[in-house]
Symmetry: C2
Subunit: 500 residues, 2 copies
């Protein structure tokens, strides 16, 4: 079937915000003070970021070149990450409530900036209305089909254990399923996250109406949390039809760390969070700084390893070859997120790695996405450390890095070839790799040397026009035209983009 | 201080509705069928009554003479009685949501009928937002001051047990407090009902703003659930000021089964649910049919006992003498409620007792209140049996009884003296008692014989006018004028009202 993805995504630059940690407006009251903004993040602590704080900083994001924001969940949830949804129809009061989202949408749309929300449809929280209704009433609740319950507990013969006793917790630790240990199926057997029974018509209708409601409200897309766990193509097919009927430009991007062809045939989602390219970037740009122990912390990243230039080129070809070009051009390309250590931390704190990788994303098809704070040098180990408060004091920002981020974005906007799916490998040699991207008669060469020693590349190019350096990580590189292309001397840990 | 109660209450006839059990509109979808309407009520079962069902039956209530409805709780709650509030700003979706309340208010107000809601401000439910927030986050939650928590659980050293494990349940059964057994203070140590910390400014503001919100929405009064457990006069003083500022005619009636002078000085509430008069009526009108075992089921009714006519008269004098006449005229006088066995059941099923008692309430100062279904002969033992579905089939109604209810109400409306606080004992003799009520130059005699044998009363009356029977339970009574009053021959189990 023909694949249609929203045109705006192909040209978009995303910024991912963890709402509790990006910015605090100071206008949302806290009944008891949150933890200090600059203290190390904790599992349960709130720092008090809110949506008006984001609205106040839209100019900052616009100056950076950002055109779309992807938010981690914002609906009412008794967790700082808000993946435990309490009320799908209400923006968390600690984030400012629905009115704050209205102000944010208005402010963003005035700037032609899109807003994508995180949709957690696989599971609710143990505080969720229909779930609590069954905990209280057992089989007598009209919501008894909404989740997967242990029949013995539905009849009150045995107590549910949503907040497990020490005994129930021990059972879980011993590997018993949550259905057995606490009385219901839960995501990863975590009692906080009861899994919806999406075979129940009322549940489907509820979830799909939530998806519709917020698109109607004005959001521009849904990032879908663990959507592969709703193992039902008809659900996602209907999801697409219903949100697209309201706004045909709604972006639908699934969180799938692995291969995702099943959902990317044009009838379900537009894209996935491209953790496959993340892994490739870590393995290559990390170079000898790659901290494998840290990088492998996310369970899906246990395979991450160092790549030579040729291996990286193979990975890039593999990842971009997985899907239709329309999908590739719509992927959400990211270096890190709230679910993994910061890229710079995986690379032993080396900002050269980050700068090269960001330039690589900005010269690749698919929308590059900045995880908030990466652009000013925020580091952080695995969750919760990767969720620090964005530095409030500009003196703590790496403005050189931020300027690099802005320069890469500006380059991407100025040169459509950077976003083209027509991208080929020119050469992979030692620790260096070069690609050629084409669009609208324009050619772009992007080249990266992840090693510490300089590499000389001899690139055959399809045009005799003079090639000019458009952007480079630093001094020391040499670009010379040859009869059929250029030679490129790349210092260690450097990258360059040239155009003709 | 001068006492001002809403004028409308003094002339009101209330009807108490248990929302799940009065009437089903059929327009609220249930995801799984509720239990059969006519089956015996169960602890957890829902029968599916809703607010539109009530709106559909406003004509029935109007025909009966009802002028005000007092609803058991209607806000979102995972319990069929809805005392476990989940969301104070939302009418339970199973009752039709906020829109259904709007329709009900409009329909009632068109008929000049008032709506009083049940306000459960002492405790929330274990599903309540701010409570769940602390269960999840412990001391890191900004809501940590909203309830009374065990410090050891706040720091996650020990799990909260809102749904107690078998061990925690055993501790509770052994008499340990909920703070110790499950980690927080709860009403009657019931884990479902965490007690608010009303010393926390945010909690006060929340509860008072809820009270304001619904008065602004259009309700005419608050019945306060266990309000004496908020042991803080300043709270109730502010409560009164704030709701009265919005609508000076807002009725505030507390659920206090005992003496309540503390709150009835004019600066807090207007009235209480007059369970003191209930107990007196049971003791007298029950006569030899009084089922003490059933009547004493509510913990506050352990003192209920049979009364002679003189004892009853003493009780009436005691109860009406407790408070200022302005308060007495505004009391909510009831024969039974959702919290006790039906009056008729306490009286061994004897409807004479019910008829006499209802006439007594209708000839007493204070607003008489019908517990839904009493008027058609619904019986029921202690909770949950006292919460049966209102018979759907008119063939199952005792229409004779209903007509009696209507006649008593009509009498009350036609004769202001019935509502007067100027009521004196004329005579108490054997099993019979007679009262004289005066208002606007009108005199009313009400007389009741709770025994099985006839009693002759010789009543001295202040007027030489002829006395006429206005209403009587049945034939056989004889009323004769004397030089200074009347003689009244009352058959066993009968009552009469005469006017001059």
């Amino acid at each position: 079937m023909p694949i249609h993805t929203p045109a705006w995504v192909r040209d978009a630059v995303f910024y991912q915000i963890f709402p509790d940690r990006f910015a605090r407006s100071g206008r949302v009251p806290f009944d008891a003070p949150p933890e200090p903004w600059d203290s190390p993040p904790t599992t349960y602590g709130f720092k008090g970021g809110d949506l008006d704080g984001v609205t106040d900083r839209l100019d900052y994001l616009q100056d950076l070149g950002v055109t779309a924001i992807y938010f981690c969940p914002i609906f009412a949830s008794a967790a700082n990450h808000r993946y435990h949804t309490y009320d799908y129809m209400t923006v968390d009061p600690l984030l400012g409530g629905n009115d704050a989202l209205r102000r944010l949408l208005d402010g963003a749309h005035e700037r032609d900036m899109k807003i994508v929300l995180d949709g957690v449809f696989n599971h609710a929280s143990r505080g969720f209305w229909q779930f609590q209704h069954v905990l209280e009433n057992g089989a007598a609740s009209p919501y008894r089909e909404w989740f997967h319950f242990d029949p013995a507990r539905l009849t009150h013969r045995k107590p549910f254990q949503p907040y497990p006793s020490e005994e129930a917790a021990a059972e879980l630790r011993a590997g018993h399923g949550s259905l057995e240990a606490v009385g219901y199926a839960a995501w990863w057997n975590l009692p906080a996250l009861p899994k919806f029974n999406t075979d129940c018509p009322a549940v489907r209708e509820f979830l799909l109406s939530v998806a519709e409601y917020w698109v109607q409200f004005g959001i521009d897309g849904w990032r879908l949390d663990v959507p592969n766990e709703i193992d039902d193509d008809s659900f996602w097919g209907e999801f697409r039809q219903r949100v697209r009927a309201i706004n045909p430009d709604t972006y639908i991007v699934g969180e799938v760390w692995g291969e995702a062809s099943r959902w990317l045939q044009g009838d379900m989602w537009d894209a996935v969070m491209n953790y496959q390219i993340t892994a490739a970037c870590l393995g290559f740009f990390g170079g000898d700084k790659l901290d494998l122990e840290e990088a492998r912390r996310p369970s899906s990243f246990s395979h991450v390893r160092a790549f030579s230039a040729q291996e990286f080129a193979d990975q890039v070809a593999r990842v971009t070859g997985m899907y239709d070009p329309e999908i590739v051009a719509s992927q959400l390309n990211l270096l890190d997120s709230h679910d993994m250590p910061r890229f710079v931390t995986c690379c032993g704190g080396d900002k050269h790695a980050l700068k090269m990788a960001w330039l690589f994303l900005c010269t690749s098809a698919g929308a590059p996405c900045i995880y908030y704070g990466d652009e000013v040098g925020v580091d952080g180990a695995h969750d919760p450390d990767c969720r620090k408060g964005f530095p409030q004091n500009e003196a703590d920002w790496d403005t050189n890095l931020r300027d690099w981020y802005a320069d890469c974005i500006a380059l991407r906007k100025a040169h459509p070839a950077t976003r083209s799916t027509n991208k080929t490998l020119l050469q992979a040699k030692d620790s260096a790799v070069a690609f050629l991207s084409k669009a609208d008669g324009q050619n772009i060469v992007s080249a990266f040397n992840a090693g510490t020693r300089e590499v000389l590349l001899d690139l055959q190019l399809p045009t005799a026009q003079p090639w000019n350096v458009l952007l480079a990580t630093g001094p020391g590189l040499e670009l010379k035209s040859t009869s059929n292309g250029v030679t490129l001397l790349l210092p260690g840990r450097s990258a360059v983009v040239a155009g003709a």
